[in-house]
Amino acid sequence: MIVDRRARAAHYTAVIIGAIIMAAPLLWMVTSAFKSPAEVIAYPPTWWPESLQLSNVTAAFEILGARAFVNSALFAIVVVTVQGAICLSAGFALAKLRFRGAKPMFTLFVTAMLVPPHVMLLPMFLVVKEFDLLNTYVGLMLPIVAQTGFGTFLFRQYFTSLPDEMVEAARVDGAHWGQVFLRIAAPLARPAVAAYAAISLLNAWTMYAWPLVAARSSEMRVLPLVLAPLATSEHSITPISTVMMAVLLTTLPMLIVFLAAQNQFVKGLGGAVKE
């Protein structure tokens, strides 16, 4: 596309400078996480830690607590698997079973997908409170599992794009719809499932507002909840380097998942608006 040498050099330089600016906050986070409390606020700032302060890891882990890691992992895994399963089956039914009412029902899920979660914070809280499920795992997870708009939309679109002949062939062979779903449709949906899993895993891991109102007792807290107070001035006794290590530790699992499955993320983020 770009033949001219100088144009190419200018293009590449601009792209790299842009990348450095975009990544700078995260690079700063990583280097600061390994600096000493004094070095992190030194002027002029140092590019690289003078010596790697590995004690920051234990200090940060103590602030976050093992319990929060376990809670976050449990929350993410349960939400992704349970929500994924019920969205997959519903998406299949809406795409291939052609029953009356499928269209308005699909519209309902799409509408639900477009409404920002925080509008529903208070009424969801009241429902969970009514069931006496505040500060319990069920109360934390089930209302989020129930947010099936995006998943149902994604899978319905995917199944719609599959040719009808694939299911019809199995139907002719005498399989009932449940078998068609489990044996043929679900395995074919692998790429959509991967994209969905990447996005909802990220969503669950980073979720803040709902856990903030539904499960704020100390043993129920997820990572974003223990991380958030570190930004406030009451926590100014904690060295910035330790805070950055805490940010790094909570981000690391998603960073690893992202680097391992970048294509799934890209497809999931772009897939929501396929067509």
Partner: protein, 325 residues
């Protein structure tokens, strides 16, 4: 990004029970030999496959949506009995300077972040749309902000913005510029929030645009190039019109995301301050609901916001949905 949701009541009532209307209507274009109806039981299977989803969806999405609407006509503090007040909560909103200011701030943040996100997303996508291996590495650098949570990025940026130790002001001072007070200044704090939002959303925009750019036929770009069109002219006359639909989606998705991303960011980074200069509507809504426990009024605020969003998305999405059918 999150898919938590609500539903409009008109839609809720339009949905039949999963098994009620499930007739044996043969699908369009289906081969006739397979539409043997007896033993098909598609109504039953539709019900089975949809039941788990619809039951939790009803309890935790539809019911809360109706509940919020209903409670907006009451005065309630969670402890004493709820008192019917009619439209009083809505009238109160119209005269509530704090609510209106926060609504205005939200609208301004949506507009001022969406434009740079669309523009930078498009430009970066063109820049990194080169199929070499090391460009894939560079692309990954641009995608990085995807992995960080809004809370974590708020904690991180809170220190980047620090007037004395922060990376931003130390970099500026190395260039001989004295940086602003950022989060401590009512003038700069909203801009600081906007910058974080832009940074967080650029990767998604780049992803959308990359996918779109790769669908533009290569011959058209090649032909324009042979006709002597420069880089600018190619971008302006071929690429930009070629990604029109993505621009539409990026703007809609971004503006919706900004609504709730700003809540996470503001509540961690500024708590709405200084002097309420970063108090976005959802933060005010949260304060009303969970600090003042003014449940009825908070429900009215939520309903107002829901109506705004519903109207906006309906207007914007209607032609799109029609097109896709």
């Amino acid at each position: 990004m999150t898919d938590v949701a609500s539903s409009s009541r008109s839609h809720a009532s339009a949905v039949p029970a999963p098994n009620s209307g499930a007739g044996h209507r043969p699908g369009r274009g289906r081969p006739t030999r397979s539409s043997g109806h007896r033993g098909d039981r598609r109504g039953l299977w539709a019900a089975i496959l949809l039941a788990p989803n619809l039951s939790v969806f009803t309890v935790f999405v539809i019911v809360p949506a109706l509940l919020a609407f209903g409670l907006s006509f009451f005065e309630w503090d969670l402890t004493s009995d709820a008192k019917w007040v009619g439209l009083e909560n809505y009238l109160r909103f119209l005269g509530d300077e704090r609510a209106l200011t926060s609504l205005r701030l939200t609208a301004i943040l949506m507009a001022t972040t969406a434009i740079p996100i669309v523009f930078l997303g498009f430009v970066i996508a063109i820049g990194v749309n080169v199929p070499t291996r090391w460009m894939r590495v560079v692309r990954t650098l641009y995608f990085m902000p995807i992995v960080i949570s809004f809370v974590a990025s708020a904690v991180l940026w809170r220190f980047l913005y620090d007037p004395t130790y922060g990376l931003i002001n130390t970099t500026l001072s190395l260039m001989g510029i004295e940086g602003p007070e950022w989060l401590f200044s009512p003038t700069w704090a909203p801009a600081a929030v906007a910058i974080v939002v832009i940074w967080l959303n650029i990767p998604t925009a780049v992803i959308f645009y990359l996918a779109a750019l790769q669908q533009i036929p290569h011959e058209r770009i090649e032909a324009a190039h042979l006709d002597g069109a420069g880089a600018w002219s190619r971008a302006r006359h071929i690429l930009w019109p070629g990604v029109r639909q993505q621009t539409f989606f990026v703007s809609v998705v971004t503006t919706l995301h900004v609504l709730y991303q700003t809540f996470d960011i503001v509540s961690v980074m500024t708590q709405g301050g200084p002097l309420r200069s970063t108090e976005v509507f959802i933060y005010y809504l949260y304060e009303t609901a969970f600090r003042s426990f003014d449940i009825g009024y908070a429900s009215a605020l939520a309903t107002v916001l829901f109506i705004c969003i519903a109207a906006l998305t309906f207007l914007v999405y209607r032609p799109q949905l029609k097109e896709n059918e």
